[in-house]
Amino acid sequence: MNQITLTLQNALTCPVDFSQVRLDQLADKSEDEIYRTELHSDAPGISIGDHWKVAVETYDDQASPRLVLQGDHAMIHRLGHQHRGGDILIEGNIGASCGSCMTGGSIFVNGDAGDGLGAPTGSRGVGMNGGVLRVTGNAGDFVGHRMRRGEIFVEGNAGDGLASWQVAGTIHVGGKIGRNVAFGMRRGTLILENEIALPTSRFTESVELHSPYKTIAGLASPEHWRVCRGDRSIGGIGEVWMPANGLSQA
Protein backbone atom coordinates (compact mmCIF):
# COMPACT_ATOMS: atom_id res chain seq x y z
CA MET A 1 0.00 0.00 0.00
CA ASN A 2 1.10 3.57 -0.61
CA GLN A 3 2.33 6.21 1.76
CA ILE A 4 1.75 9.68 0.39
CA THR A 5 3.83 12.44 1.92
CA LEU A 6 2.92 16.08 1.31
CA THR A 7 5.58 18.49 2.49
CA LEU A 8 4.51 22.11 2.64
CA GLN A 9 6.97 24.18 0.58
CA ASN A 10 5.69 27.70 1.14
CA ALA A 11 3.40 29.23 3.72
CA LEU A 12 -0.29 29.41 2.80
CA THR A 13 -1.75 32.90 2.69
CA CYS A 14 -5.44 31.98 2.52
CA PRO A 15 -7.49 29.06 3.87
CA VAL A 16 -7.67 25.91 1.79
CA ASP A 17 -10.49 23.37 1.91
CA PHE A 18 -9.02 19.87 1.96
CA SER A 19 -12.35 18.03 2.01
CA GLN A 20 -11.77 16.84 -1.55
CA VAL A 21 -8.49 15.23 -0.61
CA ARG A 22 -9.65 11.74 0.36
CA LEU A 23 -7.03 9.20 1.31
CA ASP A 24 -9.03 6.31 -0.16
CA GLN A 25 -9.08 8.13 -3.50
CA LEU A 26 -5.47 9.30 -3.38
CA ALA A 27 -4.09 5.91 -2.42
CA ASP A 28 -3.95 4.52 -5.95
CA LYS A 29 -2.80 7.70 -7.65
CA SER A 30 0.67 8.46 -8.95
CA GLU A 31 2.78 11.36 -7.73
CA ASP A 32 1.89 13.30 -10.84
CA GLU A 33 -1.84 12.79 -10.43
CA ILE A 34 -1.65 13.86 -6.80
CA TYR A 35 0.49 16.83 -7.81
CA ARG A 36 -2.26 18.01 -10.14
CA THR A 37 -5.16 17.53 -7.68
CA GLU A 38 -7.08 20.80 -7.50
CA LEU A 39 -8.07 22.33 -4.18
CA HIS A 40 -10.90 24.62 -3.08
CA SER A 41 -9.62 27.97 -1.87
CA ASP A 42 -10.22 31.69 -2.10
CA ALA A 43 -7.13 31.72 -4.27
CA PRO A 44 -8.32 30.47 -7.65
CA GLY A 45 -6.97 27.42 -9.40
CA ILE A 46 -4.52 26.09 -6.87
CA SER A 47 -3.47 22.48 -6.79
CA ILE A 48 -1.47 20.35 -4.37
CA GLY A 49 1.66 20.77 -6.43
CA ASP A 50 1.58 24.56 -6.04
CA HIS A 51 2.33 24.35 -2.34
CA TRP A 52 3.43 20.85 -1.49
CA LYS A 53 6.21 18.54 -2.46
CA VAL A 54 4.65 15.15 -3.20
CA ALA A 55 6.29 11.81 -2.48
CA VAL A 56 4.67 8.42 -2.91
CA GLU A 57 6.29 5.28 -1.63
CA THR A 58 4.99 1.76 -1.58
CA TYR A 59 5.41 -0.37 1.50
CA ASP A 60 3.83 -3.46 3.05
CA ASP A 61 0.92 -4.63 0.87
CA GLN A 62 -1.11 -5.62 3.90
CA ALA A 63 -0.88 -2.26 5.62
CA SER A 64 -3.43 0.55 5.41
CA PRO A 65 -2.77 3.54 3.16
CA ARG A 66 -1.13 6.47 4.87
CA LEU A 67 -1.13 10.21 4.24
CA VAL A 68 1.57 12.29 5.92
CA LEU A 69 1.43 16.09 5.97
CA GLN A 70 4.58 17.89 7.03
CA GLY A 71 4.60 21.56 8.01
CA ASP A 72 2.22 24.04 9.62
CA HIS A 73 -1.21 23.36 8.14
CA ALA A 74 -3.23 25.72 10.34
CA MET A 75 -4.76 27.19 7.15
CA ILE A 76 -5.95 23.77 5.99
CA HIS A 77 -9.56 23.05 6.89
CA ARG A 78 -11.68 19.92 6.69
CA LEU A 79 -8.74 17.58 6.36
CA GLY A 80 -10.00 14.02 6.79
CA HIS A 81 -13.59 14.95 5.93
CA GLN A 82 -15.50 11.66 5.71
CA HIS A 83 -12.22 9.80 6.19
CA ARG A 84 -13.05 6.11 6.37
CA GLY A 85 -9.87 4.05 6.27
CA GLY A 86 -6.12 4.32 6.58
CA ASP A 87 -3.99 6.64 8.65
CA ILE A 88 -3.48 10.39 8.31
CA LEU A 89 -0.52 11.90 10.14
CA ILE A 90 -0.02 15.66 10.42
CA GLU A 91 3.44 16.72 11.57
CA GLY A 92 2.44 20.24 12.57
CA ASN A 93 -0.73 22.19 13.26
CA ILE A 94 -4.00 21.66 11.43
CA GLY A 95 -6.93 24.02 10.82
CA ALA A 96 -10.65 23.75 11.49
CA SER A 97 -13.01 20.81 11.06
CA CYS A 98 -10.31 18.17 10.97
CA GLY A 99 -11.90 14.72 10.84
CA SER A 100 -15.36 16.13 10.24
CA CYS A 101 -17.83 13.32 9.62
CA MET A 102 -15.06 10.72 9.56
CA THR A 103 -16.27 7.14 9.84
CA GLY A 104 -13.09 5.10 10.25
CA GLY A 105 -9.33 5.00 10.14
CA SER A 106 -7.19 7.32 12.22
CA ILE A 107 -5.96 10.90 12.19
CA PHE A 108 -2.96 11.85 14.29
CA VAL A 109 -2.12 15.54 14.72
CA ASN A 110 1.32 16.12 16.15
CA GLY A 111 0.52 19.75 16.97
CA ASP A 112 -2.57 21.86 17.57
CA ALA A 113 -5.98 21.53 15.89
CA GLY A 114 -8.48 24.26 15.07
CA ASP A 115 -12.18 24.50 15.86
CA GLY A 116 -14.68 21.76 15.13
CA LEU A 117 -12.37 18.79 15.57
CA GLY A 118 -14.50 15.76 14.65
CA ALA A 119 -17.56 17.99 14.27
CA PRO A 120 -20.04 18.12 11.40
CA THR A 121 -19.77 20.67 8.64
CA GLY A 122 -22.40 22.36 6.52
CA SER A 123 -25.91 21.17 7.20
CA ARG A 124 -24.88 17.73 8.42
CA GLY A 125 -26.38 16.63 11.70
CA VAL A 126 -23.76 14.05 12.63
CA GLY A 127 -20.12 14.74 13.40
CA MET A 128 -17.46 12.11 13.79
CA ASN A 129 -18.97 8.70 13.20
CA GLY A 130 -16.08 6.30 13.76
CA GLY A 131 -12.30 5.99 13.85
CA VAL A 132 -9.71 7.60 16.08
CA LEU A 133 -8.59 11.24 16.25
CA ARG A 134 -5.58 12.10 18.37
CA VAL A 135 -4.11 15.58 18.93
CA THR A 136 -0.91 16.01 20.91
CA GLY A 137 -1.40 19.76 21.39
CA ASN A 138 -4.47 21.91 21.98
CA ALA A 139 -7.78 21.93 20.10
CA GLY A 140 -10.22 24.75 19.42
CA ASP A 141 -13.92 25.10 20.12
CA PHE A 142 -16.60 22.47 19.59
CA VAL A 143 -14.42 19.40 19.76
CA GLY A 144 -16.65 16.34 19.16
CA HIS A 145 -19.72 18.41 18.41
CA ARG A 146 -22.56 16.00 17.51
CA MET A 147 -20.15 13.09 17.67
CA ARG A 148 -21.81 9.71 17.21
CA ARG A 149 -19.01 7.13 17.24
CA GLY A 150 -15.24 6.85 17.54
CA GLU A 151 -12.61 8.21 19.89
CA ILE A 152 -11.04 11.67 20.20
CA PHE A 153 -7.95 12.26 22.33
CA VAL A 154 -6.74 15.80 22.97
CA GLU A 155 -3.62 15.77 25.08
CA GLY A 156 -3.64 19.54 25.60
CA ASN A 157 -6.49 21.98 26.19
CA ALA A 158 -9.86 22.13 24.43
CA GLY A 159 -12.01 25.21 23.82
CA ASP A 160 -15.66 26.03 24.39
CA GLY A 161 -18.55 23.71 23.59
CA LEU A 162 -16.55 20.55 24.07
CA ALA A 163 -18.76 17.47 23.47
CA SER A 164 -21.81 19.62 22.85
CA TRP A 165 -24.73 17.62 21.53
CA GLN A 166 -22.61 14.50 21.69
CA VAL A 167 -24.63 11.40 20.86
CA ALA A 168 -22.07 8.64 21.50
CA GLY A 169 -18.36 7.90 21.27
CA THR A 170 -15.55 8.88 23.61
CA ILE A 171 -13.67 12.17 24.02
CA HIS A 172 -10.62 12.34 26.26
CA VAL A 173 -9.05 15.70 27.12
CA GLY A 174 -5.80 15.88 29.03
CA GLY A 175 -5.67 19.63 29.65
CA LYS A 176 -8.09 22.39 30.58
CA ILE A 177 -11.36 23.09 28.82
CA GLY A 178 -13.52 26.10 27.95
CA ARG A 179 -17.13 26.97 28.71
CA ASN A 180 -20.38 25.14 27.99
CA VAL A 181 -18.91 21.71 28.22
CA ALA A 182 -21.19 18.85 27.14
CA PHE A 183 -24.08 21.18 26.42
CA GLY A 184 -26.96 19.09 25.12
CA MET A 185 -25.01 15.86 25.55
CA ARG A 186 -27.34 12.90 24.96
CA ARG A 187 -25.08 9.91 25.47
CA GLY A 188 -21.40 9.14 25.02
CA THR A 189 -18.39 9.51 27.24
CA LEU A 190 -16.29 12.55 28.08
CA ILE A 191 -13.12 11.98 30.08
CA LEU A 192 -11.51 15.05 31.63
CA GLU A 193 -8.19 14.75 33.37
CA ASN A 194 -8.77 18.04 35.19
CA GLU A 195 -11.82 18.16 37.40
CA ILE A 196 -14.34 20.96 36.78
CA ALA A 197 -17.60 21.96 38.39
CA LEU A 198 -20.42 20.93 36.11
CA PRO A 199 -23.72 22.83 36.46
CA THR A 200 -25.98 20.91 38.79
CA SER A 201 -28.97 21.87 36.66
CA ARG A 202 -27.57 19.82 33.82
CA PHE A 203 -25.49 17.06 35.45
CA THR A 204 -25.89 14.68 38.35
CA GLU A 205 -23.55 14.77 41.31
CA SER A 206 -20.40 12.82 40.70
CA VAL A 207 -20.36 9.31 42.06
CA GLU A 208 -17.71 6.68 42.56
CA LEU A 209 -18.32 3.87 40.09
CA HIS A 210 -16.82 0.40 40.41
CA SER A 211 -16.16 -0.66 36.86
CA PRO A 212 -13.31 -2.38 35.04
CA TYR A 213 -14.12 -0.03 32.17
CA LYS A 214 -11.78 2.52 33.74
CA THR A 215 -8.84 0.19 33.22
CA ILE A 216 -9.94 -0.86 29.74
CA ALA A 217 -10.30 2.79 28.74
CA GLY A 218 -6.75 3.39 29.93
CA LEU A 219 -7.53 5.78 32.79
CA ALA A 220 -4.51 6.24 35.03
CA SER A 221 -5.12 5.45 38.71
CA PRO A 222 -8.62 4.07 38.06
CA GLU A 223 -9.65 4.22 41.71
CA HIS A 224 -9.62 8.04 41.68
CA TRP A 225 -12.17 8.64 38.95
CA ARG A 226 -15.75 9.73 39.48
CA VAL A 227 -18.57 10.12 36.99
CA CYS A 228 -21.46 12.56 36.41
CA ARG A 229 -24.42 11.91 34.09
CA GLY A 230 -26.25 14.37 31.84
CA ASP A 231 -27.15 16.65 30.14
CA ARG A 232 -30.31 16.26 32.26
CA SER A 233 -31.85 19.42 30.78
CA ILE A 234 -32.55 17.46 27.64
CA GLY A 235 -32.91 14.04 29.28
CA GLY A 236 -29.39 13.04 28.28
CA ILE A 237 -27.55 10.18 29.96
CA GLY A 238 -24.04 10.89 28.75
CA GLU A 239 -21.21 10.50 31.21
CA VAL A 240 -18.40 12.81 32.24
CA TRP A 241 -15.47 11.19 34.03
CA MET A 242 -13.14 13.27 36.17
CA PRO A 243 -10.50 12.44 38.77
CA ALA A 244 -11.50 13.47 42.26
CA ASN A 245 -8.36 15.49 42.99
CA GLY A 246 -9.71 18.96 43.50
CA LEU A 247 -11.07 21.67 41.21
CA SER A 248 -8.70 23.20 38.73
CA GLN A 249 -11.15 25.56 37.07
CA ALA A 250 -14.68 26.76 37.53
Binding site: T170, R187, Y213
Partner: protein
Protein backbone atom coordinates in the same frame (compact mmCIF):
# COMPACT_ATOMS: atom_id res chain seq x y z
CA UNK B 1 -12.90 -62.50 29.05
CA UNK B 2 -9.54 -60.86 28.52
CA UNK B 3 -6.86 -61.69 31.01
CA UNK B 4 -4.03 -59.53 29.70
CA UNK B 5 -3.74 -56.07 28.25
CA UNK B 6 -3.59 -56.32 24.47
CA UNK B 7 -0.67 -55.10 22.37
CA UNK B 8 1.30 -53.37 25.06
CA UNK B 9 4.90 -52.97 23.95
CA UNK B 10 5.14 -49.57 25.64
CA UNK B 11 5.58 -49.16 29.40
CA UNK B 12 5.83 -46.04 31.52
CA UNK B 13 7.13 -46.50 35.06
CA UNK B 14 6.47 -50.19 34.51
CA UNK B 15 2.81 -49.60 33.61
CA UNK B 16 1.80 -51.21 30.29
CA UNK B 17 0.25 -48.88 27.72
CA UNK B 18 -2.13 -50.60 25.34
CA UNK B 19 -1.41 -49.99 21.65
CA UNK B 20 -4.78 -48.50 20.92
CA UNK B 21 -6.17 -45.06 20.25
CA UNK B 22 -8.58 -42.51 21.64
CA UNK B 23 -11.23 -41.45 19.19
CA UNK B 24 -12.31 -37.80 19.23
CA UNK B 25 -14.79 -35.66 17.38
CA UNK B 26 -15.15 -32.26 15.79
CA UNK B 27 -16.68 -29.71 18.14
CA UNK B 28 -17.26 -25.97 18.32
CA UNK B 29 -15.35 -24.10 20.99
CA UNK B 30 -14.68 -20.74 22.54
CA UNK B 31 -12.55 -19.33 25.30
CA UNK B 32 -13.75 -16.69 27.75
CA UNK B 33 -11.78 -14.61 30.23
CA UNK B 34 -13.66 -14.09 33.47
CA UNK B 35 -12.32 -11.51 35.91
CA UNK B 36 -13.40 -10.10 39.25
CA UNK B 37 -12.18 -7.71 41.91
CA UNK B 38 -10.67 -10.57 43.88
CA UNK B 39 -9.85 -14.23 43.41
CA UNK B 40 -12.77 -15.45 45.52
CA UNK B 41 -15.48 -13.73 43.46
CA UNK B 42 -13.74 -14.84 40.31
CA UNK B 43 -13.59 -18.49 41.33
CA UNK B 44 -17.17 -18.48 42.54
CA UNK B 45 -18.44 -17.07 39.25
CA UNK B 46 -16.33 -19.57 37.32
CA UNK B 47 -17.68 -22.45 39.38
CA UNK B 48 -21.23 -21.33 38.65
CA UNK B 49 -20.60 -20.83 34.94
CA UNK B 50 -18.90 -24.21 34.60
CA UNK B 51 -21.49 -26.03 36.69
CA UNK B 52 -23.47 -28.78 35.00
CA UNK B 53 -21.09 -28.69 32.07
CA UNK B 54 -19.53 -32.13 32.05
CA UNK B 55 -20.87 -33.71 28.89
CA UNK B 56 -22.75 -32.63 25.81
CA UNK B 57 -24.90 -35.74 26.26
CA UNK B 58 -27.22 -33.77 28.54
CA UNK B 59 -25.52 -30.52 29.60
CA UNK B 60 -25.46 -28.77 26.26
CA UNK B 61 -21.85 -27.75 26.80
CA UNK B 62 -18.62 -29.22 28.06
CA UNK B 63 -17.12 -26.32 29.95
CA UNK B 64 -14.36 -25.91 32.52
CA UNK B 65 -11.65 -23.60 33.72
CA UNK B 66 -8.66 -23.91 31.42
CA UNK B 67 -6.25 -22.13 33.77
CA UNK B 68 -6.05 -19.34 36.30
CA UNK B 69 -4.80 -15.95 35.14
CA UNK B 70 -2.81 -13.40 37.09
CA UNK B 71 -3.88 -9.74 36.93
CA UNK B 72 -1.14 -9.04 34.41
CA UNK B 73 -2.70 -11.58 32.03
CA UNK B 74 -6.25 -10.17 31.98
CA UNK B 75 -7.69 -7.26 29.97
CA UNK B 76 -8.69 -5.28 33.06
CA UNK B 77 -5.74 -6.06 35.32
CA UNK B 78 -7.74 -8.10 37.82
CA UNK B 79 -7.55 -11.76 38.87
CA UNK B 80 -9.12 -14.00 36.28
CA UNK B 81 -9.62 -17.41 34.81
CA UNK B 82 -9.69 -18.67 31.24
CA UNK B 83 -12.74 -20.81 30.62
CA UNK B 84 -13.12 -23.07 27.62
CA UNK B 85 -16.47 -24.31 26.35
CA UNK B 86 -17.18 -26.98 23.77
CA UNK B 87 -20.44 -27.85 22.03
CA UNK B 88 -21.52 -30.21 19.29
CA UNK B 89 -23.43 -27.53 17.40
CA UNK B 90 -23.03 -23.80 16.96
CA UNK B 91 -26.70 -23.31 17.82
CA UNK B 92 -26.26 -24.96 21.19
CA UNK B 93 -23.15 -22.89 21.85
CA UNK B 94 -24.98 -19.67 20.97
CA UNK B 95 -27.76 -20.63 23.34
CA UNK B 96 -25.68 -21.83 26.27
CA UNK B 97 -22.99 -19.14 26.53
CA UNK B 98 -25.33 -16.12 26.89
CA UNK B 99 -27.52 -18.10 29.26
CA UNK B 100 -24.64 -19.10 31.52
CA UNK B 101 -23.01 -15.66 31.28
CA UNK B 102 -26.29 -14.02 32.23
CA UNK B 103 -27.18 -16.26 35.13
CA UNK B 104 -23.75 -17.09 36.53
CA UNK B 105 -21.41 -14.19 35.74
CA UNK B 106 -23.62 -11.12 35.39
CA UNK B 107 -25.14 -12.07 38.75
CA UNK B 108 -21.83 -12.43 40.60
CA UNK B 109 -20.44 -9.26 42.20
CA UNK B 110 -17.58 -7.38 40.50
CA UNK B 111 -17.21 -9.75 37.56
CA UNK B 112 -16.50 -9.00 33.90
CA UNK B 113 -16.34 -11.24 30.85
CA UNK B 114 -14.06 -10.98 27.81
CA UNK B 115 -13.08 -12.96 24.76
CA UNK B 116 -10.17 -15.30 25.32
CA UNK B 117 -9.50 -15.79 21.62
CA UNK B 118 -8.27 -12.59 20.11
CA UNK B 119 -9.34 -11.08 16.82
CA UNK B 120 -12.55 -9.53 15.59
CA UNK B 121 -14.69 -10.58 12.64
CA UNK B 122 -11.80 -10.05 10.28
CA UNK B 123 -9.98 -12.95 11.93
CA UNK B 124 -12.88 -14.99 13.34
CA UNK B 125 -16.06 -14.54 11.37
CA UNK B 126 -18.12 -16.92 13.49
CA UNK B 127 -19.19 -15.28 16.73
CA UNK B 128 -21.06 -16.13 19.90
CA UNK B 129 -23.14 -13.37 21.47
CA UNK B 130 -22.37 -12.23 25.00
CA UNK B 131 -23.05 -8.52 25.51
CA UNK B 132 -25.09 -8.59 22.34
CA UNK B 133 -27.70 -10.53 24.32
CA UNK B 134 -27.03 -9.42 27.90
CA UNK B 135 -27.15 -5.68 27.16
CA UNK B 136 -30.93 -5.69 27.29
CA UNK B 137 -30.72 -6.28 31.03
CA UNK B 138 -29.63 -2.63 31.18
CA UNK B 139 -33.15 -1.61 30.19
CA UNK B 140 -31.93 1.25 28.04
CA UNK B 141 -29.28 2.49 30.47
CA UNK B 142 -26.56 0.20 29.07
CA UNK B 143 -23.55 1.82 27.43
CA UNK B 144 -21.69 0.55 24.39
CA UNK B 145 -18.02 1.44 24.02
CA UNK B 146 -15.85 0.63 21.04
CA UNK B 147 -12.22 0.78 22.06
CA UNK B 148 -9.27 0.50 19.71
CA UNK B 149 -6.70 -1.73 21.34
CA UNK B 150 -3.90 -4.15 20.66
CA UNK B 151 -3.85 -7.56 22.24
CA UNK B 152 -1.39 -10.31 21.39
CA UNK B 153 -0.16 -8.29 18.43
CA UNK B 154 -3.62 -7.86 16.93
CA UNK B 155 -4.87 -4.28 16.64
CA UNK B 156 -8.63 -4.20 16.60
CA UNK B 157 -11.71 -2.29 17.68
CA UNK B 158 -13.50 -4.11 20.47
CA UNK B 159 -17.10 -3.37 21.39
CA UNK B 160 -17.79 -3.55 25.11
CA UNK B 161 -21.12 -3.34 26.87
CA UNK B 162 -21.41 -1.71 30.27
CA UNK B 163 -24.55 -2.75 32.07
CA UNK B 164 -25.49 -0.91 35.27
CA UNK B 165 -25.86 -3.26 38.24
CA UNK B 166 -26.12 -2.72 41.96
CA UNK B 167 -22.38 -2.86 42.69
CA UNK B 168 -21.39 -0.67 39.75
CA UNK B 169 -21.18 -2.01 36.23
CA UNK B 170 -21.01 -5.39 34.56
CA UNK B 171 -18.61 -5.11 31.62
CA UNK B 172 -18.47 -7.67 28.83
CA UNK B 173 -17.53 -7.91 25.18
CA UNK B 174 -20.21 -7.74 22.52
CA UNK B 175 -19.38 -11.21 21.22
CA UNK B 176 -16.58 -13.74 21.29
CA UNK B 177 -15.07 -15.89 18.54
CA UNK B 178 -16.21 -19.42 17.90
CA UNK B 179 -13.62 -21.81 16.52
CA UNK B 180 -13.51 -25.39 15.32
CA UNK B 181 -12.01 -27.69 17.93
CA UNK B 182 -11.83 -31.29 19.09
CA UNK B 183 -13.69 -33.05 21.88
CA UNK B 184 -13.48 -36.52 23.33
CA UNK B 185 -9.76 -37.17 23.65
CA UNK B 186 -9.35 -39.63 26.50
CA UNK B 187 -7.31 -42.17 28.37
CA UNK B 188 -8.46 -44.87 30.73
CA UNK B 189 -6.64 -45.78 33.92
CA UNK B 190 -7.01 -49.42 34.92
CA UNK B 191 -6.50 -49.47 38.69
CA UNK B 192 -5.69 -52.36 40.97
CA UNK B 193 -7.71 -50.51 43.64
CA UNK B 194 -9.90 -47.42 43.87
CA UNK B 195 -7.17 -45.72 45.90
CA UNK B 196 -4.48 -46.34 43.30
CA UNK B 197 -6.78 -45.31 40.44
CA UNK B 198 -7.66 -42.12 42.31
CA UNK B 199 -4.01 -41.36 43.01
CA UNK B 200 -3.10 -41.86 39.35
CA UNK B 201 -6.07 -39.85 38.15
CA UNK B 202 -5.33 -36.89 40.42
CA UNK B 203 -1.71 -36.86 39.38
CA UNK B 204 -2.80 -36.82 35.73
CA UNK B 205 -5.21 -33.94 36.27
CA UNK B 206 -2.63 -31.98 38.25
CA UNK B 207 -0.29 -32.32 35.29
CA UNK B 208 -2.94 -31.21 32.81
CA UNK B 209 -4.57 -28.45 34.87
CA UNK B 210 -2.51 -25.47 33.72
CA UNK B 211 -1.85 -26.68 30.20
CA UNK B 212 -3.10 -24.23 27.57
CA UNK B 213 -5.86 -25.04 25.14
CA UNK B 214 -7.31 -28.08 26.88
CA UNK B 215 -9.90 -28.89 29.56
CA UNK B 216 -11.02 -31.98 31.42
CA UNK B 217 -14.69 -31.15 31.99
CA UNK B 218 -15.75 -33.97 34.32
CA UNK B 219 -15.76 -33.60 38.11
CA UNK B 220 -12.16 -33.61 39.24
CA UNK B 221 -11.22 -34.09 35.60
CA UNK B 222 -12.28 -37.73 35.45
CA UNK B 223 -15.36 -39.86 35.04
CA UNK B 224 -16.25 -43.31 36.28
CA UNK B 225 -19.21 -43.56 33.92
CA UNK B 226 -17.48 -44.16 30.64
CA UNK B 227 -20.18 -44.66 28.06
CA UNK B 228 -20.81 -46.46 24.83
CA UNK B 229 -23.04 -45.31 22.01
CA UNK B 230 -26.64 -46.57 22.22
CA UNK B 231 -28.64 -48.53 24.74
CA UNK B 232 -31.15 -51.32 24.97
CA UNK B 233 -33.58 -48.51 25.83
CA UNK B 234 -34.47 -46.66 22.62
CA UNK B 235 -34.75 -43.28 24.34
CA UNK B 236 -31.08 -43.30 25.37
CA UNK B 237 -28.27 -42.64 22.95
CA UNK B 238 -25.53 -43.45 25.45
CA UNK B 239 -25.28 -46.01 28.21
CA UNK B 240 -22.72 -47.61 30.51
CA UNK B 241 -19.65 -49.10 28.90
CA UNK B 242 -20.05 -52.57 30.39
CA UNK B 243 -16.78 -53.77 28.88
CA UNK B 244 -14.97 -51.63 31.47
CA UNK B 245 -17.20 -52.37 34.49
CA UNK B 246 -15.40 -54.65 36.95
CA UNK B 247 -18.67 -55.95 38.33
CA UNK B 248 -19.69 -57.31 34.94
CA UNK B 249 -16.48 -59.20 34.24
CA UNK B 250 -17.50 -62.70 33.31
CA UNK B 251 -20.98 -61.61 32.33
CA UNK B 252 -20.13 -59.55 29.27
CA UNK B 253 -17.31 -59.29 26.73
CA UNK B 254 -15.02 -57.48 29.17
CA UNK B 255 -11.94 -55.55 28.15
CA UNK B 256 -10.48 -55.56 31.64
CA UNK B 257 -7.26 -57.41 32.33
CA UNK B 258 -6.92 -59.47 35.48
CA UNK B 259 -6.35 -57.50 38.63
CA UNK B 260 -8.42 -54.45 37.69
CA UNK B 261 -10.96 -53.43 40.32
CA UNK B 262 -11.54 -49.75 39.46
CA UNK B 263 -11.42 -47.84 36.18
CA UNK B 264 -11.35 -44.07 35.72
CA UNK B 265 -11.45 -42.23 32.42
CA UNK B 266 -9.94 -38.80 31.81
CA UNK B 267 -11.81 -37.02 29.01
CA UNK B 268 -10.17 -34.09 27.26
CA UNK B 269 -11.46 -31.36 24.95
CA UNK B 270 -8.94 -29.16 23.22
CA UNK B 271 -8.49 -26.34 20.77
CA UNK B 272 -6.55 -28.57 18.40
CA UNK B 273 -4.99 -32.00 18.01
CA UNK B 274 -1.65 -30.97 19.45
CA UNK B 275 -3.07 -29.53 22.66
CA UNK B 276 -4.97 -32.74 23.40
CA UNK B 277 -2.02 -34.93 22.47
CA UNK B 278 0.26 -32.94 24.76
CA UNK B 279 -2.23 -33.22 27.61
CA UNK B 280 -2.60 -36.96 27.10
CA UNK B 281 1.15 -37.35 27.16
CA UNK B 282 1.54 -35.34 30.37
CA UNK B 283 -1.49 -36.93 32.04
CA UNK B 284 -0.61 -40.54 31.30
CA UNK B 285 3.01 -40.02 32.25
CA UNK B 286 2.05 -38.38 35.55
CA UNK B 287 -0.50 -41.11 36.32
CA UNK B 288 1.99 -43.90 35.70
CA UNK B 289 4.70 -42.16 37.69
CA UNK B 290 2.30 -41.61 40.60
CA UNK B 291 0.90 -45.12 40.95
CA UNK B 292 3.37 -47.33 39.10
CA UNK B 293 2.69 -50.91 38.19
CA UNK B 294 1.71 -51.66 41.80
CA UNK B 295 -1.26 -49.34 41.40
CA UNK B 296 -2.14 -49.53 37.72
CA UNK B 297 -2.61 -52.67 35.68
CA UNK B 298 -2.38 -50.56 32.55
CA UNK B 299 -3.53 -47.57 30.57
CA UNK B 300 -5.80 -47.76 27.56
CA UNK B 301 -8.11 -45.43 25.60
CA UNK B 302 -11.70 -45.40 24.41
CA UNK B 303 -12.70 -45.61 20.79
CA UNK B 304 -15.50 -46.79 18.55
CA UNK B 305 -13.34 -48.63 16.09
CA UNK B 306 -12.49 -45.43 14.33
CA UNK B 307 -15.90 -45.19 12.71
CA UNK B 308 -17.36 -42.18 14.52
CA UNK B 309 -14.63 -39.62 15.09
CA UNK B 310 -12.00 -38.52 12.63
CA UNK B 311 -9.38 -37.62 15.22
CA UNK B 312 -7.40 -40.62 16.44
CA UNK B 313 -4.90 -40.25 19.25
CA UNK B 314 -2.68 -43.32 19.12
CA UNK B 315 -1.15 -43.82 22.54
CA UNK B 316 2.06 -45.27 21.16
CA UNK B 317 2.66 -42.18 19.01
CA UNK B 318 1.62 -39.67 21.65
CA UNK B 319 3.83 -41.26 24.29
CA UNK B 320 6.83 -41.67 22.03
CA UNK B 321 9.83 -40.82 24.12
CA UNK B 322 7.96 -41.13 27.41
CA UNK B 323 8.54 -44.88 27.90
CA UNK B 324 10.86 -46.24 30.56
Amino acid sequence: MTNELKNEPLKIAGVPIEATFAEAFDMKATRLILTAADRQWCDEAAAAMCGFGTSVIACGLEIAVERTLSPSETPDGRPGVAIMAFAVSSNEMEKQIPRRAGQCVLTCPTTALYAGIYGGRKWHEKRIPVGKSLRYFGDGMQISKVIRQTREGIEQSVRYWRIPVMDGEFVCEHDVPRIDAIGGGNFILLGRSMESATKACRAAIDAIREMPGVIAPFPGGATRSGSKVGSKYPALFASTNEAFCPSLKGLVDSQLPDGVTAVLEVVLDGMNFDSIAAAMNSGITAACDASGSDGLVGVTAGNYGGKLGRHHFHLAEILKGASS
